[in-house]
Protein backbone atom coordinates (compact mmCIF):
# COMPACT_ATOMS: atom_id res chain seq x y z
CA UNK A 1 0.00 0.00 0.00
CA UNK A 2 2.78 2.43 0.95
CA UNK A 3 4.54 2.17 -2.46
CA UNK A 4 1.26 3.27 -4.08
CA UNK A 5 0.97 6.33 -1.84
CA UNK A 6 4.65 7.02 -2.43
CA UNK A 7 3.98 6.83 -6.18
CA UNK A 8 1.41 9.61 -5.88
CA UNK A 9 3.92 11.70 -3.95
CA UNK A 10 6.57 11.27 -6.67
CA UNK A 11 4.07 12.06 -9.41
CA UNK A 12 2.98 15.24 -7.66
CA UNK A 13 6.17 16.34 -5.95
CA UNK A 14 6.28 19.55 -7.99
CA UNK A 15 2.98 20.48 -6.38
CA UNK A 16 4.78 21.03 -3.10
CA UNK A 17 6.66 23.93 -4.66
CA UNK A 18 3.49 25.15 -6.31
CA UNK A 19 1.61 24.82 -3.01
CA UNK A 20 4.21 26.89 -1.27
CA UNK A 21 3.89 29.69 -3.82
CA UNK A 22 0.10 29.39 -3.86
CA UNK A 23 -0.12 29.68 -0.06
CA UNK A 24 2.11 32.77 0.03
CA UNK A 25 -0.03 34.33 -2.70
CA UNK A 26 -3.27 33.57 -0.82
CA UNK A 27 -1.90 34.93 2.46
CA UNK A 28 -1.22 38.24 0.72
CA UNK A 29 -4.52 38.33 -1.20
CA UNK A 30 -6.66 37.35 1.81
CA UNK A 31 -4.98 39.76 4.19
CA UNK A 32 -8.22 41.50 5.13
CA UNK A 33 -10.63 40.89 8.00
CA UNK A 34 -13.36 39.36 5.76
CA UNK A 35 -11.26 36.46 4.37
CA UNK A 36 -8.46 36.20 6.90
CA UNK A 37 -10.34 33.72 9.07
CA UNK A 38 -10.60 31.25 6.18
CA UNK A 39 -7.15 31.66 4.68
CA UNK A 40 -5.66 28.51 6.22
CA UNK A 41 -8.47 26.19 5.20
CA UNK A 42 -8.93 27.74 1.76
CA UNK A 43 -5.23 27.51 0.98
CA UNK A 44 -4.88 23.93 2.27
CA UNK A 45 -8.04 22.81 0.51
CA UNK A 46 -6.88 24.44 -2.73
CA UNK A 47 -3.49 22.70 -2.62
CA UNK A 48 -4.97 19.29 -1.85
CA UNK A 49 -7.61 19.76 -4.55
CA UNK A 50 -5.11 20.73 -7.25
CA UNK A 51 -2.85 17.83 -6.29
CA UNK A 52 -5.67 15.28 -6.48
CA UNK A 53 -6.71 16.64 -9.89
CA UNK A 54 -3.08 16.57 -11.05
CA UNK A 55 -2.63 12.88 -10.21
CA UNK A 56 -5.94 11.96 -11.85
CA UNK A 57 -4.99 13.75 -15.05
CA UNK A 58 -1.51 12.24 -15.16
CA UNK A 59 -3.00 8.76 -14.79
CA UNK A 60 -5.65 9.38 -17.41
CA UNK A 61 -3.19 10.83 -19.91
CA UNK A 62 -0.74 7.93 -19.60
CA UNK A 63 -3.34 5.20 -19.17
CA UNK A 64 -1.37 4.24 -16.09
CA UNK A 65 -3.99 1.84 -14.77
CA UNK A 66 -2.47 -0.76 -17.09
CA UNK A 67 0.92 -0.53 -15.42
CA UNK A 68 -0.49 -0.18 -11.91
CA UNK A 69 -2.63 -3.27 -12.31
CA UNK A 70 0.25 -5.26 -13.75
CA UNK A 71 2.25 -4.71 -10.56
CA UNK A 72 1.99 -7.08 -7.59
CA UNK A 73 -1.11 -5.44 -6.17
CA UNK A 74 -4.77 -6.21 -5.76
CA UNK A 75 -7.43 -3.87 -7.03
CA UNK A 76 -8.65 -3.46 -3.45
CA UNK A 77 -5.26 -2.03 -2.53
CA UNK A 78 -5.31 0.37 -5.49
CA UNK A 79 -8.67 1.78 -4.39
CA UNK A 80 -7.76 1.98 -0.70
CA UNK A 81 -4.45 3.66 -1.53
CA UNK A 82 -6.23 6.32 -3.57
CA UNK A 83 -8.37 7.26 -0.56
CA UNK A 84 -5.38 7.20 1.78
CA UNK A 85 -3.27 9.27 -0.59
CA UNK A 86 -5.91 12.00 -0.57
CA UNK A 87 -5.68 12.12 3.21
CA UNK A 88 -1.89 12.21 2.88
CA UNK A 89 -2.12 15.13 0.46
CA UNK A 90 -4.37 16.89 2.96
CA UNK A 91 -1.80 16.46 5.73
CA UNK A 92 0.97 17.76 3.43
CA UNK A 93 -1.19 20.73 2.41
CA UNK A 94 -1.97 21.53 6.06
CA UNK A 95 1.69 21.35 7.04
CA UNK A 96 2.67 23.61 4.13
CA UNK A 97 0.00 26.16 4.87
CA UNK A 98 0.71 25.96 8.60
CA UNK A 99 4.39 26.73 8.02
CA UNK A 100 3.58 29.62 5.66
CA UNK A 101 1.07 30.98 8.23
CA UNK A 102 3.68 30.69 10.95
CA UNK A 103 6.13 32.75 8.88
CA UNK A 104 3.49 35.38 8.16
CA UNK A 105 2.55 35.51 11.85
CA UNK A 106 6.08 36.17 13.02
CA UNK A 107 7.71 37.89 10.06
CA UNK A 108 4.81 40.05 8.88
CA UNK A 109 2.86 40.90 12.05
CA UNK A 110 1.41 43.89 10.28
CA UNK A 111 -0.90 41.53 8.31
CA UNK A 112 -2.27 40.31 11.63
CA UNK A 113 -2.39 36.57 10.84
CA UNK A 114 -3.10 34.16 13.69
CA UNK A 115 -1.55 30.69 13.88
CA UNK A 116 -3.32 27.68 12.41
CA UNK A 117 -5.85 26.11 14.78
CA UNK A 118 -7.87 22.91 15.06
CA UNK A 119 -10.88 24.47 13.31
CA UNK A 120 -8.74 25.09 10.21
CA UNK A 121 -7.57 21.46 10.27
CA UNK A 122 -11.10 20.20 10.80
CA UNK A 123 -12.66 22.38 8.08
CA UNK A 124 -10.01 21.40 5.53
CA UNK A 125 -10.21 17.69 6.31
CA UNK A 126 -14.00 17.62 6.16
CA UNK A 127 -14.03 19.53 2.85
CA UNK A 128 -11.45 17.22 1.28
CA UNK A 129 -13.23 14.10 2.50
CA UNK A 130 -16.49 15.36 1.01
CA UNK A 131 -14.77 16.23 -2.25
CA UNK A 132 -13.03 12.85 -2.42
CA UNK A 133 -16.18 10.95 -1.49
CA UNK A 134 -18.07 12.41 -4.42
CA UNK A 135 -15.31 12.55 -7.01
CA UNK A 136 -13.44 9.26 -6.48
CA UNK A 137 -16.27 6.91 -7.50
CA UNK A 138 -16.68 9.06 -10.63
CA UNK A 139 -12.93 8.97 -11.21
CA UNK A 140 -12.92 5.16 -11.02
CA UNK A 141 -16.00 4.88 -13.20
CA UNK A 142 -15.27 7.38 -15.93
CA UNK A 143 -12.20 9.47 -16.54
CA UNK A 144 -10.22 12.39 -15.24
CA UNK A 145 -12.20 14.71 -17.51
CA UNK A 146 -15.46 13.98 -15.73
CA UNK A 147 -13.76 13.97 -12.36
CA UNK A 148 -12.55 17.48 -13.07
CA UNK A 149 -16.07 18.68 -13.83
CA UNK A 150 -17.44 17.08 -10.67
CA UNK A 151 -14.57 18.44 -8.60
CA UNK A 152 -15.19 21.96 -9.81
CA UNK A 153 -18.88 21.67 -8.85
CA UNK A 154 -18.07 20.23 -5.40
CA UNK A 155 -15.33 22.81 -4.96
CA UNK A 156 -17.77 25.65 -5.64
CA UNK A 157 -20.43 24.13 -3.39
CA UNK A 158 -17.96 23.75 -0.54
CA UNK A 159 -16.76 27.30 -1.10
CA UNK A 160 -20.11 29.04 -1.25
CA UNK A 161 -22.50 26.74 0.62
CA UNK A 162 -21.20 27.57 4.15
CA UNK A 163 -21.89 31.32 3.68
CA UNK A 164 -25.33 30.59 2.18
CA UNK A 165 -26.11 28.13 4.98
CA UNK A 166 -24.97 30.58 7.67
CA UNK A 167 -27.13 33.32 6.10
CA UNK A 168 -30.12 30.97 6.02
CA UNK A 169 -29.64 29.99 9.68
CA UNK A 170 -29.38 33.64 10.74
CA UNK A 171 -32.53 34.52 8.80
CA UNK A 172 -34.44 31.63 10.36
CA UNK A 173 -32.91 31.86 13.80
CA UNK A 174 -36.32 31.72 15.50
CA UNK A 175 -37.31 28.41 13.92
CA UNK A 176 -37.46 25.64 16.56
CA UNK A 177 -35.04 23.31 14.74
CA UNK A 178 -32.49 26.11 14.31
CA UNK A 179 -32.78 26.98 17.97
CA UNK A 180 -32.28 23.40 19.06
CA UNK A 181 -29.29 23.07 16.71
CA UNK A 182 -27.81 26.26 18.13
CA UNK A 183 -28.47 24.97 21.65
CA UNK A 184 -26.74 21.70 20.81
CA UNK A 185 -23.78 23.55 19.36
CA UNK A 186 -23.59 25.79 22.42
CA UNK A 187 -24.15 23.29 25.23
CA UNK A 188 -23.26 19.91 23.76
CA UNK A 189 -20.65 20.78 21.17
CA UNK A 190 -19.03 17.36 21.54
CA UNK A 191 -22.28 15.61 20.59
CA UNK A 192 -22.60 17.66 17.41
CA UNK A 193 -18.94 17.05 16.53
CA UNK A 194 -19.30 13.33 17.18
CA UNK A 195 -22.43 13.14 15.03
CA UNK A 196 -20.67 15.08 12.27
CA UNK A 197 -17.68 12.75 12.45
CA UNK A 198 -19.91 9.66 12.32
CA UNK A 199 -21.74 11.04 9.26
CA UNK A 200 -18.39 11.75 7.62
CA UNK A 201 -17.11 8.22 8.27
CA UNK A 202 -20.31 6.75 6.84
CA UNK A 203 -20.02 8.96 3.73
CA UNK A 204 -16.42 7.97 3.06
CA UNK A 205 -17.16 4.28 3.66
CA UNK A 206 -20.09 4.34 1.25
CA UNK A 207 -17.91 6.13 -1.30
CA UNK A 208 -15.09 3.58 -0.81
CA UNK A 209 -17.35 0.58 -1.34
CA UNK A 210 -18.93 2.14 -4.45
CA UNK A 211 -15.43 2.85 -5.85
CA UNK A 212 -14.28 -0.67 -5.01
CA UNK A 213 -17.25 -2.25 -6.76
CA UNK A 214 -16.65 -0.13 -9.84
CA UNK A 215 -12.91 -0.83 -9.93
CA UNK A 216 -13.25 -4.59 -9.40
CA UNK A 217 -15.50 -4.80 -12.48
CA UNK A 218 -13.43 -2.48 -14.63
CA UNK A 219 -11.53 -3.52 -17.78
CA UNK A 220 -8.27 -1.83 -18.68
Amino acid sequence: MWPLIRKEMIVQKKMILFGLGYSVFLFFVFANPVFQEFTYSMAAFGIAYITVIGVAQAEYKNNSDIVINSLPLTRREVVAAKYLSILTFTVIALVLVGVVGLLFHFLLPVLNYRLMNSVDVFTTTVSIILLASVSLPIYFKTSAQWTRVVNVVVFLVLFFAPAQLAGYLVQNSQEPWVRSLAGLAGNQNWLLSLTGLAVLVVIILISYFISLRIYLNKDF
Binding site: W2, P3, R6, K7, I10, V11, A58, K61, N62, N63, S64, I66, V67, N69, S70, L71, P72, L73, T74, N217, D219, F220
Partner: protein, 291 residues
Protein backbone atom coordinates in the same frame (compact mmCIF):
# COMPACT_ATOMS: atom_id res chain seq x y z
CA UNK B 1 5.52 -31.33 -17.76
CA UNK B 2 5.84 -28.31 -15.43
CA UNK B 3 3.71 -25.60 -17.00
CA UNK B 4 4.57 -22.02 -16.20
CA UNK B 5 1.39 -20.82 -17.94
CA UNK B 6 -1.80 -22.73 -18.60
CA UNK B 7 -4.89 -21.11 -20.05
CA UNK B 8 -7.96 -23.29 -20.27
CA UNK B 9 -11.27 -22.52 -21.98
CA UNK B 10 -10.93 -18.76 -21.60
CA UNK B 11 -13.87 -16.76 -22.96
CA UNK B 12 -14.74 -13.10 -23.10
CA UNK B 13 -17.24 -11.17 -25.18
CA UNK B 14 -17.05 -7.50 -26.18
CA UNK B 15 -20.16 -6.74 -28.19
CA UNK B 16 -19.53 -8.31 -31.58
CA UNK B 17 -16.03 -9.57 -30.80
CA UNK B 18 -15.70 -12.80 -28.88
CA UNK B 19 -12.67 -14.54 -27.49
CA UNK B 20 -13.72 -18.18 -27.69
CA UNK B 21 -12.41 -21.05 -25.66
CA UNK B 22 -8.75 -20.00 -25.57
CA UNK B 23 -6.41 -22.75 -24.36
CA UNK B 24 -2.65 -22.31 -24.20
CA UNK B 25 0.05 -24.22 -22.43
CA UNK B 26 3.65 -23.05 -21.98
CA UNK B 27 6.18 -25.26 -20.17
CA UNK B 28 9.03 -23.79 -18.14
CA UNK B 29 12.20 -23.02 -20.04
CA UNK B 30 10.52 -22.18 -23.34
CA UNK B 31 9.50 -19.18 -25.43
CA UNK B 32 6.03 -19.05 -26.92
CA UNK B 33 5.39 -16.78 -29.87
CA UNK B 34 1.84 -15.50 -29.95
CA UNK B 35 0.81 -14.49 -33.45
CA UNK B 36 -2.30 -13.36 -35.25
CA UNK B 37 -3.60 -10.54 -37.42
CA UNK B 38 -4.73 -7.19 -36.00
CA UNK B 39 -7.86 -7.53 -33.90
CA UNK B 40 -7.47 -11.32 -33.61
CA UNK B 41 -7.45 -11.19 -29.80
CA UNK B 42 -3.74 -11.26 -28.85
CA UNK B 43 -3.81 -8.21 -26.59
CA UNK B 44 -7.16 -9.25 -25.08
CA UNK B 45 -5.74 -12.68 -24.23
CA UNK B 46 -2.65 -11.11 -22.66
CA UNK B 47 -4.84 -8.69 -20.68
CA UNK B 48 -6.93 -11.62 -19.45
CA UNK B 49 -3.76 -13.44 -18.37
CA UNK B 50 -2.68 -10.29 -16.51
CA UNK B 51 -6.19 -9.87 -15.04
CA UNK B 52 -6.47 -6.43 -16.61
CA UNK B 53 -9.86 -7.40 -17.97
CA UNK B 54 -12.46 -9.67 -16.44
CA UNK B 55 -13.16 -13.05 -17.96
CA UNK B 56 -16.58 -14.54 -18.69
CA UNK B 57 -15.42 -18.15 -18.33
CA UNK B 58 -12.31 -20.27 -18.17
CA UNK B 59 -9.20 -20.53 -16.08
CA UNK B 60 -5.70 -19.03 -16.10
CA UNK B 61 -3.05 -20.83 -14.09
CA UNK B 62 0.34 -19.20 -13.69
CA UNK B 63 2.99 -21.17 -11.79
CA UNK B 64 0.12 -23.63 -11.20
CA UNK B 65 -1.96 -21.02 -9.35
CA UNK B 66 -5.14 -19.18 -10.32
CA UNK B 67 -4.22 -15.74 -11.62
CA UNK B 68 -6.98 -13.95 -9.72
CA UNK B 69 -6.96 -15.78 -6.38
CA UNK B 70 -3.17 -15.46 -6.16
CA UNK B 71 -2.82 -12.24 -8.13
CA UNK B 72 -0.36 -10.47 -5.86
CA UNK B 73 1.94 -13.43 -5.40
CA UNK B 74 1.89 -14.29 -9.10
CA UNK B 75 2.62 -10.76 -10.27
CA UNK B 76 5.71 -10.65 -8.07
CA UNK B 77 7.08 -13.26 -10.46
CA UNK B 78 5.90 -11.74 -13.76
CA UNK B 79 7.77 -9.23 -15.89
CA UNK B 80 5.62 -7.32 -18.37
CA UNK B 81 6.41 -5.32 -21.49
CA UNK B 82 3.53 -3.71 -23.36
CA UNK B 83 3.24 -2.38 -26.88
CA UNK B 84 3.01 1.23 -25.69
CA UNK B 85 4.42 3.36 -22.95
CA UNK B 86 2.03 3.42 -20.01
CA UNK B 87 4.50 4.99 -17.60
CA UNK B 88 4.18 8.62 -16.53
CA UNK B 89 5.93 10.27 -19.43
CA UNK B 90 6.80 13.49 -17.58
CA UNK B 91 8.97 11.61 -15.08
CA UNK B 92 12.61 10.68 -15.57
CA UNK B 93 13.66 7.04 -15.86
CA UNK B 94 15.10 7.27 -12.36
CA UNK B 95 11.88 8.62 -10.90
CA UNK B 96 9.81 5.95 -12.66
CA UNK B 97 12.17 3.22 -11.50
CA UNK B 98 11.84 4.59 -7.95
CA UNK B 99 8.09 4.15 -8.27
CA UNK B 100 8.23 0.59 -9.68
CA UNK B 101 11.10 -0.96 -7.68
CA UNK B 102 9.51 -0.90 -4.18
CA UNK B 103 6.63 -3.10 -5.38
CA UNK B 104 8.99 -6.04 -5.94
CA UNK B 105 10.50 -7.91 -3.02
CA UNK B 106 13.23 -9.36 -5.29
CA UNK B 107 14.16 -6.12 -7.01
CA UNK B 108 17.83 -6.27 -7.96
CA UNK B 109 19.25 -2.77 -8.36
CA UNK B 110 22.56 -4.09 -9.71
CA UNK B 111 20.79 -5.97 -12.50
CA UNK B 112 18.72 -2.87 -13.33
CA UNK B 113 21.84 -0.70 -13.48
CA UNK B 114 23.51 -3.30 -15.69
CA UNK B 115 20.62 -3.18 -18.18
CA UNK B 116 20.62 0.61 -18.05
CA UNK B 117 24.25 0.45 -19.12
CA UNK B 118 23.78 -2.23 -21.79
CA UNK B 119 20.81 -0.37 -23.30
CA UNK B 120 22.59 2.99 -22.94
CA UNK B 121 19.58 4.49 -21.19
CA UNK B 122 20.02 7.95 -19.66
CA UNK B 123 18.56 7.69 -16.14
CA UNK B 124 17.98 11.42 -15.84
CA UNK B 125 16.12 11.85 -19.12
CA UNK B 126 12.34 12.18 -19.14
CA UNK B 127 10.41 9.25 -20.59
CA UNK B 128 8.62 11.51 -23.07
CA UNK B 129 11.99 12.49 -24.55
CA UNK B 130 12.94 8.91 -25.34
CA UNK B 131 12.51 7.27 -28.75
CA UNK B 132 10.11 4.36 -29.08
CA UNK B 133 13.00 1.92 -29.01
CA UNK B 134 14.42 3.50 -25.85
CA UNK B 135 11.04 3.34 -24.13
CA UNK B 136 10.84 -0.33 -24.99
CA UNK B 137 14.35 -0.90 -23.64
CA UNK B 138 13.37 0.85 -20.42
CA UNK B 139 10.28 -1.34 -20.09
CA UNK B 140 12.44 -4.38 -20.68
CA UNK B 141 15.01 -3.28 -18.09
CA UNK B 142 12.24 -2.96 -15.49
CA UNK B 143 10.75 -6.33 -16.47
CA UNK B 144 14.08 -8.14 -16.17
CA UNK B 145 15.28 -6.63 -12.88
CA UNK B 146 13.16 -8.43 -10.31
CA UNK B 147 13.90 -12.06 -11.09
CA UNK B 148 10.67 -12.61 -13.05
CA UNK B 149 10.06 -16.23 -13.98
CA UNK B 150 7.40 -15.47 -16.59
CA UNK B 151 7.94 -12.60 -19.00
CA UNK B 152 4.87 -11.43 -20.89
CA UNK B 153 5.48 -9.19 -23.88
CA UNK B 154 2.79 -7.67 -26.05
CA UNK B 155 4.16 -6.60 -29.44
CA UNK B 156 7.50 -5.44 -28.02
CA UNK B 157 9.18 -5.29 -31.44
CA UNK B 158 6.53 -3.47 -33.44
CA UNK B 159 7.81 -0.20 -34.87
CA UNK B 160 11.40 -0.93 -33.85
CA UNK B 161 14.38 -0.96 -36.13
CA UNK B 162 15.96 -4.32 -37.10
CA UNK B 163 19.10 -3.67 -35.02
CA UNK B 164 17.19 -3.27 -31.78
CA UNK B 165 14.83 -6.11 -32.65
CA UNK B 166 17.82 -8.36 -33.08
CA UNK B 167 19.31 -7.09 -29.81
CA UNK B 168 16.04 -7.77 -28.00
CA UNK B 169 15.84 -11.31 -29.36
CA UNK B 170 19.39 -11.99 -28.22
CA UNK B 171 18.53 -10.77 -24.72
CA UNK B 172 15.46 -12.97 -24.57
CA UNK B 173 17.46 -15.94 -25.77
CA UNK B 174 20.01 -15.38 -23.03
CA UNK B 175 17.25 -14.94 -20.43
CA UNK B 176 15.70 -18.27 -21.37
CA UNK B 177 18.99 -20.06 -20.70
CA UNK B 178 17.61 -20.22 -17.19
CA UNK B 179 15.33 -23.25 -17.46
CA UNK B 180 13.14 -21.88 -14.70
CA UNK B 181 11.81 -19.10 -16.91
CA UNK B 182 9.19 -18.81 -19.61
CA UNK B 183 8.41 -16.09 -22.14
CA UNK B 184 5.13 -15.31 -23.88
CA UNK B 185 5.86 -12.98 -26.77
CA UNK B 186 3.19 -11.59 -29.07
CA UNK B 187 4.26 -10.16 -32.40
CA UNK B 188 3.21 -9.45 -35.95
CA UNK B 189 6.76 -10.03 -37.10
CA UNK B 190 6.85 -13.74 -37.69
CA UNK B 191 10.54 -13.75 -38.61
CA UNK B 192 11.33 -12.60 -35.05
CA UNK B 193 9.35 -15.48 -33.62
CA UNK B 194 10.94 -17.98 -36.01
CA UNK B 195 14.30 -16.93 -34.60
CA UNK B 196 13.55 -17.52 -30.96
CA UNK B 197 10.22 -19.25 -30.30
CA UNK B 198 9.98 -22.86 -29.25
CA UNK B 199 6.19 -22.82 -29.41
CA UNK B 200 3.91 -20.90 -31.74
CA UNK B 201 0.36 -20.05 -30.77
CA UNK B 202 -1.73 -18.67 -33.60
CA UNK B 203 -4.97 -16.82 -32.89
CA UNK B 204 -7.47 -15.66 -35.48
CA UNK B 205 -10.96 -14.19 -35.02
CA UNK B 206 -10.78 -14.75 -31.27
CA UNK B 207 -9.99 -18.46 -31.59
CA UNK B 208 -6.79 -20.43 -31.31
CA UNK B 209 -5.98 -21.94 -34.70
CA UNK B 210 -3.00 -23.89 -33.39
CA UNK B 211 -0.64 -23.92 -30.46
CA UNK B 212 2.29 -26.19 -31.18
CA UNK B 213 6.04 -26.51 -31.09
CA UNK B 214 7.93 -25.14 -34.09
CA UNK B 215 9.05 -28.68 -34.86
CA UNK B 216 5.45 -29.91 -34.93
CA UNK B 217 4.50 -27.04 -37.22
CA UNK B 218 7.22 -27.93 -39.67
CA UNK B 219 5.97 -31.51 -39.63
CA UNK B 220 2.32 -30.57 -39.87
CA UNK B 221 2.31 -28.14 -42.78
CA UNK B 222 3.60 -28.44 -46.30
CA UNK B 223 3.83 -25.85 -49.06
CA UNK B 224 2.91 -27.39 -52.40
CA UNK B 225 3.62 -25.90 -55.84
CA UNK B 226 2.67 -27.32 -59.22
CA UNK B 227 0.96 -26.89 -62.58
CA UNK B 228 -2.75 -26.13 -62.68
CA UNK B 229 -3.55 -29.52 -64.23
CA UNK B 230 -2.74 -31.17 -60.91
CA UNK B 231 -5.25 -29.08 -59.03
CA UNK B 232 -8.35 -31.24 -59.09
CA UNK B 233 -11.08 -31.47 -56.43
CA UNK B 234 -9.33 -34.29 -54.54
CA UNK B 235 -6.14 -32.24 -54.24
CA UNK B 236 -8.11 -29.18 -53.10
CA UNK B 237 -9.64 -31.25 -50.28
CA UNK B 238 -6.19 -31.73 -48.77
CA UNK B 239 -5.24 -28.07 -49.07
CA UNK B 240 -5.99 -25.37 -46.50
CA UNK B 241 -5.82 -22.68 -49.15
CA UNK B 242 -4.55 -22.36 -52.69
CA UNK B 243 -3.30 -19.45 -54.78
CA UNK B 244 -3.61 -19.85 -58.53
CA UNK B 245 -2.20 -18.00 -61.52
CA UNK B 246 -1.63 -18.65 -65.21
CA UNK B 247 1.52 -20.63 -64.52
CA UNK B 248 0.38 -22.87 -61.72
CA UNK B 249 -0.68 -23.02 -58.10
CA UNK B 250 0.82 -22.69 -54.66
CA UNK B 251 -0.99 -23.96 -51.61
CA UNK B 252 -0.66 -24.99 -48.01
CA UNK B 253 -1.62 -28.42 -46.87
CA UNK B 254 -2.03 -29.70 -43.33
CA UNK B 255 -2.04 -33.29 -44.56
CA UNK B 256 1.49 -33.62 -45.97
CA UNK B 257 1.56 -37.40 -46.19
CA UNK B 258 -1.65 -37.62 -48.17
CA UNK B 259 -0.71 -34.82 -50.54
CA UNK B 260 2.73 -36.32 -51.21
CA UNK B 261 1.15 -39.68 -51.92
CA UNK B 262 -1.39 -38.06 -54.24
CA UNK B 263 0.92 -35.82 -56.23
CA UNK B 264 4.18 -37.75 -56.03
CA UNK B 265 7.01 -36.25 -58.05
CA UNK B 266 4.73 -34.05 -60.14
CA UNK B 267 4.70 -31.25 -57.55
CA UNK B 268 7.33 -29.30 -55.59
CA UNK B 269 7.28 -29.39 -51.80
CA UNK B 270 8.71 -26.89 -49.31
CA UNK B 271 8.63 -26.37 -45.58
CA UNK B 272 6.47 -23.26 -45.24
CA UNK B 273 7.62 -20.21 -43.31
CA UNK B 274 5.55 -19.05 -40.36
CA UNK B 275 4.44 -16.12 -42.49
CA UNK B 276 3.12 -18.49 -45.16
CA UNK B 277 1.30 -20.62 -42.59
CA UNK B 278 -0.35 -17.52 -41.14
CA UNK B 279 -1.23 -16.07 -44.52
CA UNK B 280 -2.78 -19.24 -45.88
CA UNK B 281 -4.62 -20.01 -42.66
CA UNK B 282 -6.09 -16.52 -42.29
CA UNK B 283 -7.35 -16.70 -45.88
CA UNK B 284 -8.56 -20.22 -45.42
CA UNK B 285 -12.00 -19.68 -46.86
CA UNK B 286 -10.80 -17.73 -49.83
CA UNK B 287 -9.05 -18.94 -52.92
CA UNK B 288 -6.91 -16.02 -53.92
CA UNK B 289 -6.07 -15.62 -57.57
CA UNK B 290 -2.95 -13.67 -58.46
CA UNK B 291 -1.24 -12.76 -61.68
Amino acid sequence: MDEILKVDGLCRSFGEFQLKDISISLPRGYIMGFIGPNGAGKTTTIKLIMNLINRDRGEVLIFGKDNIKNEKEIKQRIGFVYDENYYYDFLTLKEMKNIIAPFYRDWDEAVYQRYLKIFELPARKKIKDLSRGMKMKFSLALALSHGAELIIMDEPTSGLDPVFRSELLDILRSEIQDDNRGILFSSHITSDLERIADYICFINNGQIVFSQTCYELREKYLLVKGPLELLNETVRQFMLNVKENDFGFEGLSDQPEKIRRLLGNHALYEVPSLDQIVLYTVRRDKCVAFN
